[in-house]
């Protein structure tokens, strides 16, 4: 009988309630149920707005009910948050309870016969006397990586052996990794910030990089400035490559270390905790506007939006020159889908509108100037622009640690399966009668098979020595 004092005590009623494994299992079932519900009911965060409205029109009563109950944003709904929090608490207390249970020393009692589950009994007789068997058996078992303990009581000798208990620790580690993973997810929810960076070739930034800053929970958080300066060197579209465009950037850290970075689709660049995901790219002509008195009162690169229509890439944008009524439309056509413009291309079409009336439209080559009214407009040069999504997510590292713990835990759990052997030795004529009772946490038939092989080896080992 296992000593009562060795039983893990959970004094707090709160902890006792949450350490119920049955409760944890029901919560797991509830989590599955909620996830299935999230799959059946369209989620606003995933479905395009038009499709969602279509669903609302098709199922007006159901959709109203689902929206009212928060099921169309189920992974942010109170129901989901309650279940996941409750489940995390249950997981935590169950793990603590299990750690307490496993870390206590095995009962040094003659009655520590393996429990009924997956139990196997083998009896055999050997010519060796009890004393010799009790001497040799532990060394045989130790070779097989068992930890042994010998008890003597009167004429009866008992040897207990166990191995594979690391498997239980593996299981605990795996469950702990879940708690680490949930804390990583929490960090992402509250600490992740992202924004967009739009750069023209040759441009450098080091401060706030973004035209919008967002985080799911904290929309007004500002992204911290970079602790490095970033220069956008150039965009490369390798000819004949299927891998899409590549952007070259150079980061200069505070200690003046220059780091070359390259991004391409789905292959971001990482620097000092920031990750830069390449998004769109296009052409950016440099436009200079002037008058006789001020030949360059406006000078800027204009990022043109790209689209491919009937196999022809078009790039265009409109802008108003500050402090004037001049409205400029720029239009560039490149002959291939890869959005490349040949070096000799001169086809930037400029249209000027003033006070709602089109003044002039002309094709400009690089370096050419267009004159209208008292103004001059010059097309200086053509560069590329690229936009990057900048992300800083403190939860990712925690998440990776959780994955590592889970992998180690699973490895231990699968490799080590707890086995307990209980040898009862008694005199039988000139030899010894060995009664072996054993059980395992693993599968019975595999264990039975291994146990019979081991018993045969043991009998040979003992008979050889005798």
């Amino acid at each position: 009988m296992a000593s009562r004092s060795l039983q893990p005590k959970i004094s707090s009623g709160f902890a006792r309630f949450f350490s119920s494994r049955r409760l944890a299992l029901y919560l797991l079932a509830a989590l599955i149920g909620v996830a299935v519900l999230g799959m059946i009911i369209p989620q606003q965060s995933l479905l395009p707005v038009n499709d969602f409205h279509l669903w609302q029109k098709s199922f007006p009563r159901l959709s109203r009910l689902a929206i009212d109950m928060g099921f169309t944003r189920i992974y942010e709904s109170p129901l989901f948050l309650i279940i996941i929090t409750w489940f995390s608490l249950a997981l935590f207390f169950c793990t603590v309870h299990r750690v307490k249970k496993i870390s206590r020393r095995p009962a040094r009692s003659l009655n520590a016969v393996p429990q009924q589950q997956n139990r196997e009994c083998i009896t055999f007789i050997t010519a060796c006397p009890v004393a010799a068997v009790s001497d040799r058996l532990p060394s045989f078992l130790r070779k097989k990586r068992y930890k042994t303990t010998t008890f003597c009581q009167g004429e009866q000798t008992t040897i207990t052996a166990r191995r594979g208990h690391l498997g239980k620790w593996g299981s605990i580690l795996f469950h702990c990794s879940f708690l680490v993973l949930l804390s990583g997810a929490l960090l992402t929810t509250w600490g992740r910030i992202e924004g967009t960076l739009l750069l023209t070739e040759g441009q450098s930034v080091s401060g706030l990089p973004t035209d919008y800053i967002s985080s799911s929970r904290t929309p007004l958080r500002t992204m911290p400035p970079f602790d490095f300066s970033l220069r956008y060197d150039n965009l490369l579209t390798p000819p004949g490559s299927d891998n899409g465009p590549r952007n070259n950037l150079t980061a200069t850290t505070r200690d003046n270390k220059r780091i070359h970075l390259q991004t391409r689709d789905f292959h971001p660049a990482k620097i000092n905790g920031f990750t830069l995901y390449q998004k769109e790219s296009g052409f950016s002509p440099s436009i200079r506007l002037g008058t006789n008195s001020d030949p360059s009162f406006f000078h800027s690169f204009i990022a043109l939006h790209s689209s491919v229509i009937d196999g022809i890439a078009e790039h265009q944008d409109t802008f108003t020159v500050p402090n004037t009524d001049i409205f400029v439309t720029l239009h560039l056509i490149s002959p291939d889908k890869t959005a490349n413009v040949p070096a000799s291309a001169t086809n930037l079409t400029v249209a000027i509108t003033r006070a709602g009336r089109q003044e002039i439209e002309a094709d400009l080559a690089r370096g050419q100037t267009l004159s209208f009214d008292e103004y001059t407009l010059q097309f200086d040069e053509l560069r590329h622009w690229s936009s990057f999504r900048v992300v800083r997510d403190p939860g990712v590292l925690v998440l990776y640690i959780a994955f590592l713990l889970a992998a180690i835990g699973l490895g231990l759990r699968l490799h080590f399966r707890a086995e307990r052997l209980f040898f009862c030795l008694s005199n039988y004529e000139d030899g010894c009668r060995v009664v072996l009772t054993a059980n395992t946490d693993g599968e019975k038939s595999f264990f039975q098979n291994n146990l019979h092989i081991m018993t045969n080896h043991l009998q040979k080992y003992l008979s050889k020595d005798s």
Partner: protein, 268 residues
């Protein structure tokens, strides 16, 4: 698809089909003879299947896994590989092969019905994590297929088996139960690695490790179902047919991940 590839594909399909026939005949006729023929045919089919995949690898220049055809073929190959390894150790489990091969054949034919272009690996797949993701996924799923096949045989014997000949050919209940639970635990580990590597891959390619999109959510649901299976066995003491039912339900959920998720409202 090149003629050589087509030839290897149909040789594979033919040998797997023949192996199923031998297994079925072995169940009712001369067991030992037909089962050994079946094993030989499975090995032959596996070799042509391996050649088929290797040839495709050579032609495309990357590991198969870029489209539905390649994914299904790779999945079927992993399933047959796990079955052959299992059969090497436990000869009694040959009957599991009927279901395993039927599922592999279905995967192969389904993949073949989809387009199978030869081309370089898409940009988003060019990551080491992608390979870890698909290999762990298919090894995990193969283990689930073996587990469910054992579960199916357990249920068949429990509910329907009246023929003593078939009954004799099937492995004993304890072994079926143990195969069911052990392979669920192996599959669970593979599935966990798949989810983790998928999250890392998604983070490196799209900047988000979890987006609750239908494929990843459904994959999580099936993983949680298997977690429920393992915990129900450990804590609730569930055994035998109950667990077999859960493993079959979970396998159906996995099949739904491949074939059904695209019909859900959120799928894009």
């Amino acid at each position: 698809m090149q003629l050589s590839e087509l030839l290897l594909f149909f040789m594979t399909v033919g040998t797997y089909g023949l192996a199923i026939f031998f297994f079925m005949t072995g169940l009712t006729g001369k067991r030992r003879l037909f089962f050994s023929w079946a094993t030989f045919t499975v090995i032959a089919g596996f070799l042509t299947h391996s050649l088929n995949l290797a040839w495709r690898w050579y032609l495309t220049g990357h590991m198969p896994g870029d489209n539905i055809y390649e994914l299904n073929s790779l999945g079927a190959w992993c399933t047959v590989l796990v079955f052959l390894l299992l059969q090497k150790r436990y000869r009694k489990l040959q009957t599991v092969g009927i279901i395993v091969l039927a599922i592999s054949l279905a995967m192969l034919l389904y993949g073949f019905s989809k387009p199978h272009p030869l081309g370089p690996l898409s940009d988003e797949y060019q990551s080491g994590w992608f390979y870890i993701h698909i290999i762990s996924a298919f090894l995990g799923y193969s283990c689930y297929v073996i587990a469910s096949s054992a579960g199916f045989l357990l249920l068949y014997r429990h509910y329907h088996c009246t023929s003593s000949q078939i009954n004799e050919a099937l492995p004993d209940n304890q072994l079926l139960e143990d195969i069911n639970s052990r392979f669920v635990s192996y599959g669970f580990a593979g599935h966990a690695i798949m989810l983790a590597s998928g999250a890392i891959w998604a983070n490196s390619a799209w900047g988000r490790y979890w987006n609750w999109d239908p494929v990843e959510t459904w994959s999580l649901i099936t993983w949680l179902l298997y977690a429920f299976y393992l915990h129900a066995k450990s804590f609730l003491g569930w055994r035998g047919t109950r667990l077999a039912w859960i493993s079959i339900a979970a396998l159906i959920a996995i099949i739904f991940t491949f074939w059904g998720v695209s019909h859900l409202p959120d799928h894009s």
